[in-house]
Symmetry: C2
Subunit: 424 residues, 2 copies
């Protein structure tokens, strides 16, 4: 298969299916903004374009790219269009969601709906609290030990990549963490055997990162703490809501929203209620789960607009049929991409052990590494962007979160085959 | 003056001036969202309405209210319309700002422009860093002592209301703070004489809250630390960018964005560089100013969309002529409202000492307190919302931040006079 490099043909989807992104939507925006001193008319023309129609000639016409960024990442088009339609005035409230008092009835309805929909999606048991916080997973790296153990208590960390390593290092300030397994010597390409983990029998918790965004390794099942009073804690930032999860296996799940469920600036914590209320005395009030649980995430002003966006994404995931359906799509997308890599006779290589390859983040290299710059550049010309691997590992990385449509992956694979044909 | 209670007349501005909000903009949104399985047309019709024109008959037509909320608060209409116009696709990037990698060139240009414009607005000296963080002022209540002093060192707090009291209490975890003045016995209606403050000569810093959102007291000038090695630290959340400030008088200025400069979820810290790099060993990495300064607010994923919104607000403030012009408007609005209260022969009362009344948050009560519920209810019917005072002080509170247009205050004052005429 070859791909033309004419200016527009790369914009055409490779085949027809039911994904929204297969329908090209051209929004021509001529919304003139009145300055504070003058008043100009506002025009907004949005016209849908049918498949294979010629592109509009207006210079304002814009095209969405396929964004393979690791996070912040691509969001569902339906969610963005919904957000755009009600940004200025939210459903008869007379104001934008960004302007709402976080204690008013409108925002209360938004945050309660978001929590309720997330509970439905993940089937969160009633004895767990859901918190909408700030500061990213990095803040939770401190909050988890500060809330779950005393300074002298042991905890266990499995280090499968950069993020679990950062979590371990931060915990050293607040308790006695041990690295009970590290994939560093194998460049973080593996997940340990769950049975073989030598856990500390007194560890207050066992911490894992369920999917390493940079290295592309993902747990397919989860370890059980050997300490009967210990709990499993997971940083799920980069595969949160990408598939069903048995929440009852975990004491704490935390996730930055900016991969699968919203914009950056929102951190979601799901915590079993009996683990709340034991924070160390020096815990900043904003890192104390008890404060946030008692105040239903409204102790101080939460990141309201981000929470609203997460709520729209949750609605969208439910409309897709829930996380079982979402997982099926993610498996399909990942299979297509990994198969293309593995069928390339070594032209492309994925260093990750096959059984633990991530459905979300697909790192790969070129056998001829000197071509990697050219690969990324040509892909960008074809409107596939953010394919450069993390600076710590090099190569390429395609992040294919929930909102990356199948045609995006299909187009990438077609491009990879074409690139190989031209450079093999 | 009387105000009709007919369904629409309250929507008409009371007089003509140059404020944007005096022009009613009716946006009729019929933007149909395609579901993932179907494809429906997208229509967007936005038609401006001239002053005094009849209201459109479409049921979708919506009207903006005057939102007197204390924060999150009203934002400039121009900023909201700009944000709406480019939410789906930002300026040829092929994606929403919410989807951009925080390390990519597009978002880099956004955060750098925001910082540069803020530096221009506040004339921030080059020896100060500007940080865009998360967690609100409440997180800074811990970060300030953790970064600026050792656990055994003394610091001074002036407690002029609920927020400075919370800041003091959080500092007790991390150093030896003293309350050197408290307005509690006078129900937080005063600011102390700056000369009369009995400061600890060894205090590493002197902490103030420049404007108390709940109690409506505002510093008109700032104290100088008596310790030559001490610095002044100010929580400016609720009057940030409402007037020019001599940044060089401060060691640290911090502010939640959600009053004057953006949506909730962004906290801005302005800090003199020599104060960076001395954090206590137990400081969470996310509360360490050095980490954020060295990484230009990109150590982890920042609240990108909120920073983008702040940048749009900064542009708007510069277009208005800068903070000198902004202050003039704020003074005018506050004068009108305080004058109405003071001229009401005691029907309305503001408990705050006249010389320190806030330009931003105007608390007032009714002599006949049993009418307060009715006042708030009738005002809401007239599209003036969020006028209820904080639960800790009762009564009413009108927050009139930068983005509250003069016609909003004029309409409130007209309503107050009418309400008095009917209930005196």
């Amino acid at each position: 298969m070859s791909i033309s490099t004419s200016p527009h043909s790369h914009l055409l989807p490779q085949n027809h299916n039911h994904f929204l992104s297969n329908h090209r939507i051209h929004i021509t925006t001529t919304l003139s903004l009145p300055s504070p001193r003058t008043f100009r008319p506002i025009k907004c023309a949005a016209t849908p374009t049918q498949l294979q129609d010629p592109l509009p000639t207006q210079t304002q016409a814009q095209e969405r790219v396929f964004n393979f960024a690791a996070g912040p990442a691509t969001l569902p088009e339906t969610v963005l269009l919904r957000a755009q339609s009600e940004l200025y005035l939210w459903r008869g409230s007379g104001m934008s969601v960004m302007e709402m008092s976080h204690r008013g009835k409108d925002f209360t309805s938004i945050i309660e709906k978001a929590e309720s929909d997330l509970r439905t999606l993940l089937q969160i048991p009633p004895e767990y609290s859901v918190l909408f916080l700030q500061g990213g997973a990095t803040t939770q790296f401190a909050a988890v030990p500060l809330n779950l153990c005393a300074p002298e208590e042991p905890v266990d960390y499995v280090v499968t990549g950069s993020w679990s390593d950062k979590a371990f290092k931060e915990a050293q300030k607040y308790c006695k963490p041990s690295v009970i397994w590290s994939g560093k010597s194998e460049k973080y390409t593996k997940i340990p055997s769950l049975q073989g983990l030598e856990q500390n029998p007194d560890a207050k918790y066992l911490h894992i990162c369920s999917n390493e965004t940079i290295h592309g390794v993902e747990y397919k099942d989860y370890p059980t703490p050997t300490n009967p009073n210990g709990v499993l804690v997971a940083d799920m930032s980069s595969n949160f809501c990408s598939k069903p999860v048995d929440v009852s296996k975990f004491g704490v799940i935390y996730a930055g929203a900016q991969k699968n469920v919203g914009p950056s600036g929102v951190t979601i914590v799901i915590i079993r209620n009996d683990l709340i209320g034991h924070a160390q005395g020096l815990t900043p009030v904003m890192l104390d789960y008890k404060i946030h649980a008692e105040n239903r995430s409204l102790y101080n002003t939460p990141p309201c607009y981000g929470i609203y966006m997460c709520g729209l994404v949750f609605e969208d995931l439910l409309e897709q049929g829930g996380l079982g359906e979402v997982e099926k799509n993610n498996v399909k997308k990942a299979e297509i991409l990994y198969n293309a890599i593995d069928a390339s006779n070594g032209f492309y290589k994925c260093p990750v052990e096959k059984s633990v390859r991530s459905l979300m983040n697909v790192p790969f290299t070129l056998e001829k590494s000197e071509l990697e710059g050219e690969f990324i550049k040509e892909a960008a010309k074809e409107n596939m962007v953010q394919l450069k691997g993390h600076r710590s590992v090099g190569g390429m990385r395609a992040s294919i979160y929930n909102a990356m449509p199948l045609p995006g992956v299909q187009k990438l694979v077609a491009f990879m085959k074409d690139f190989q044909a031209r450079h093999a």
